[in-house]
């Protein structure tokens, strides 16, 4: 059986194709104002038996195409657990939200939290800040890693933080120090969420944010723990969605 997991995120659409439970192919493409059209492009020629959609576009997709849906919480949990069976904590920094999922020893979701309704502290936040500092993304990350000092940035609202950064550059503050300060701001927020929800080993970091080596390094340093990166961190939720088709169902937990 050919199953496709489709993670329709705010910035990118991720696809994982399973053939009898084995990953045969995956892709990551930019999103657009028309997520359905992007998804159709991603699925062209794929001929799946089943499609499971996750991410913020899952409902739209399932309303217009033949698909089942799963939340991104359950999807990243399944994906991370498949890639690393000892996973107990998942941090996912995506384009417009950040989430932490705590897993029980059996892999079931025990607790989760997502950031508030705005994009503070997410991948999109860092993209906007890189642009404000006239850095391409890779150089923004490298500058953050190599900076000797950090210029703290206090605003977490993307709009306010951009003003803060522009004011700082107008005062002559070193932009590498700002790059570092901006990464640290996102790290503080993510680590606070991790501490609220869960911090059991193993910790897996995924989502597009996990491609950012500066974030990864600072989060591991801040926690003083090993933070594991999957080989393709962006496709973990899409993988989980595809895997959900074969995962066993249990009866609901009952309160005595």
């Amino acid at each position: 059986m050919r199953v496709i997991g489709l993670d329709i995120g705010s910035r990118t659409v991720k696809r994982v194709t399973l053939e009898d439970g084995v990953v045969v192919d995956h892709s990551v493409v930019p999103g657009s104002h028309d997520p359905l059209a992007v998804c159709d492009g991603v699925l062209a020629g794929q001929r799946p038996d089943r499609v499971v959609a996750t991410g913020y576009g899952r409902r739209l997709f399932a309303e217009h195409r033949q698909a089942e849906t799963l939340t991104e919480i359950r999807a990243v949990a399944l994906g991370a657990r498949h890639l690393r069976p000892t996973t107990r904590t998942v941090l996912d920094i995506g384009g417009q939200d950040t989430k932490v999922v705590a897993l029980g020893a059996d892999g079931a979701v025990a607790k989760f939290e997502m950031n508030d309704r705005c994009a503070a502290g997410t991948g999109r936040f860092l993209e906007v800040m890189a642009t404000a500092l006239s850095y391409p993304m890779d150089q923004f990350v490298q500058a953050g890693r190599e900076a000797d000092t950090a210029q703290p940035v206090h605003a977490m609202c993307t709009v306010f933080a951009e003003s803060e950064v522009i004011s700082a550059t107008a005062r002559g503050v070193d932009r590498a120090a700002l790059a570092r300060g901006l990464h640290e701001a996102v790290v503080r927020r993510s680590v606070a969420m991790l501490r609220r929800v869960a911090l059991e080993d193993d910790i897996v970091f995924c989502g597009g944010g996990a491609l950012n080596a500066c974030l990864h390094q600072l989060i591991a340093e801040s926690l003083g723990r090993q933070v594991h990166l999957p080989p393709h961190p962006q496709i973990v939720a899409a993988l989980g969605a595809a895997l959900s088709v074969n995962s066993p169902a249990r009866s609901p937990r009952r309160v005595q």
Binding site: E72, A110, V255
Partner: protein, 438 residues
């Protein structure tokens, strides 16, 4: 929402802005159809509540206008701490006032800071935009010193409401002194009502009023017990509607209607007929009030395939819990019993408020709920601050909690849906994706 009578002359007389009021009723009718009438397998006796909602600004308002014409006073309130018993004792009519819709927010923000909760903004908005016939039909509007937001807002509201207005002082501790404050507030309220109506409160009329409200609460207790069955015989939305109508319908007719509903639900339970199959994920909602027409979160929860089986909320348990001991022989004794009933309500304005978390856990267990969703309005400091404490206590008792902060706007519906769906998946303990019908 069928309209059989033309109420426009009445609304006009009450000083409403008819165009804005039309817009409000159209939105309300649309929402009611989408949220309530689209549900499957509803109890037939919910027809009464559909009728009441269809006539929310019509027949019931006419009854209030007629009551005033017959010499009865009409008293409006915003809170479960305003005792209906005293209003009924003087032959008056007590109604809950509109505070559940995102309407007139810009007008409200001329007087209120942006970071004011949606409920306060809503009653300002309804008043300023002249779309609440209930306020216009009142002789007396009663505020209460509960949270800081309300107590400061009432200072401004007193000049805007255009009716006689008074504020009940409220204690913030569950102490002897606190109880004394509540008692004094109720004595002041009683004196004001006597003065306004010309009717003296006696042991006889107060006993009768207490019995009338006790009967109403008893019917709601019966409804709450029936919802404990699995499969549950009624949706959380329909039960919430009964809890909302509790605050403004004629008490006797309401009690009879809830009992009729319960008769039908009893048969359903005996036949194991439910609104969802046995084993469906069961949720208790805890937190801030859901005033009409705030159906946003329950509609999201039940759209994910879960069912709501209880409300630890002002529109729910806090409004209906406990009865007043009506056995006293004197007004003094009856007033003490009245204060006892209301003082036991564990609203988050009390500090500390140690009974609320165990009470919530007990409701969850009684309702055989799999999880609790804590609903807080943004900028509602008492409930937002209490949420982590409640979460910890309830989870310690073995029931998972999801905390959500929201308001009356629809911009965050999809974000809420993701969290609620993920929570329901977590409680269901399975990973199979949801198959879509469309």
């Amino acid at each position: 929402m069928t309209e059989t009578t033309d109420y426009r002359p009445m609304w006009s007389e009450l000083g409403l802005d008819l165009d804005k009021h039309d817009a409000l009723l159209a939105a309300l009718g649309q929402a009611y159809g989408d949220v309530f009438l689209s549900q499957e397998n509803r109890p037939e006796t919910m027809g009464y509540f559909d009728f009441v909602m269809g006539e929310i600004h019509g027949l019931r308002v006419k009854e209030l206008v007629d009551a005033r014409a017959a010499g009865r006073i009409v008293v409006g309130s915003f809170c479960v701490f305003v005792p209906e018993e005293l209003v009924l004792a003087v032959g008056g009519v007590c109604v809950g006032l509109c505070a559940g819709a995102d309407f007139g927010t810009e007008a409200a923000e001329r007087y209120l800071p942006r970071n004011t909760c949606a409920l306060i903004k809503s009653f300002f908005g309804f008043t300023l935009e002249k779309v609440c016939p209930y306020i216009s039909a009142c002789d007396l509007v009663v505020g209460e010193n509960t949270c800081d937001g309300k107590k400061k807002a009432y200072e401004t509201f007193a000049d805007l409401v255009g009716r006689e207005f008074m504020v009940l002082d409220m204690p913030n501790t569950k102490s002897g002194e606190g109880r004394a404050i509540l008692k004094r507030a109720y004595l002041d309220f009683a004196a004001r009502l006597e003065n306004l109506s010309g009717v003296t409160i006696t042991a006889e009329n107060l006993t009768a009023a207490i019995e009338l409200v006790n009967a109403k609460r008893r019917a709601m207790h019966r409804l709450a017990r029936l919802r404990q069955a699995d499969p549950t015989p009624i949706s959380g939305l329909d039960a919430l509607l009964a809890n909302q109508v509790f605050f403004y319908d004629d008490p006797e007719r309401f009690t009879q209607s809830v009992n009729n509903l319960c008769d039908e639900l009893e048969k359903r339970v005996a036949q194991k007929v439910g609104v969802a199959p046995a084993g469906t994920v069961r949720i208790v909602i805890s937190g801030c009030p859901m005033a009409v027409p705030n159906w946003k979160l329950p509609a999201i929860v039940e759209s994910t395939g879960a069912v709501i089986v209880g409300e630890e909320s002002c529109i729910g348990e806090r409004g209906t819990q406990n009865l007043v001991d009506g056995s006293g022989d004197t007004v003094g004794e009856l007033m003490e019993s009245l204060v006892d009933r209301y003082f036991a309500v564990d609203c988050a304005v009390f500090t500390p408020n140690p009974t609320r978390a165990p009470h919530t856990l007990q409701i969850a267990k009684d309702c055989r709920a799999h999880g609790v969703i804590h609903f807080a309005l943004q900028f509602c400091a008492p409930y937002q601050m209490e949420a982590p404490l409640l979460e910890r206590e309830v989870e310690k008792g073995g029931v998972p909690v999801l905390r959500l902060d929201t308001d009356y706007s629809t911009e965050d519906v999809e974000q809420l849906r993701t969290r609620v769906e993920a929570f329901v998946e977590q409680l269901r303990g399975e990973s199979e994706p949801i198959a879509h019908r469309s």
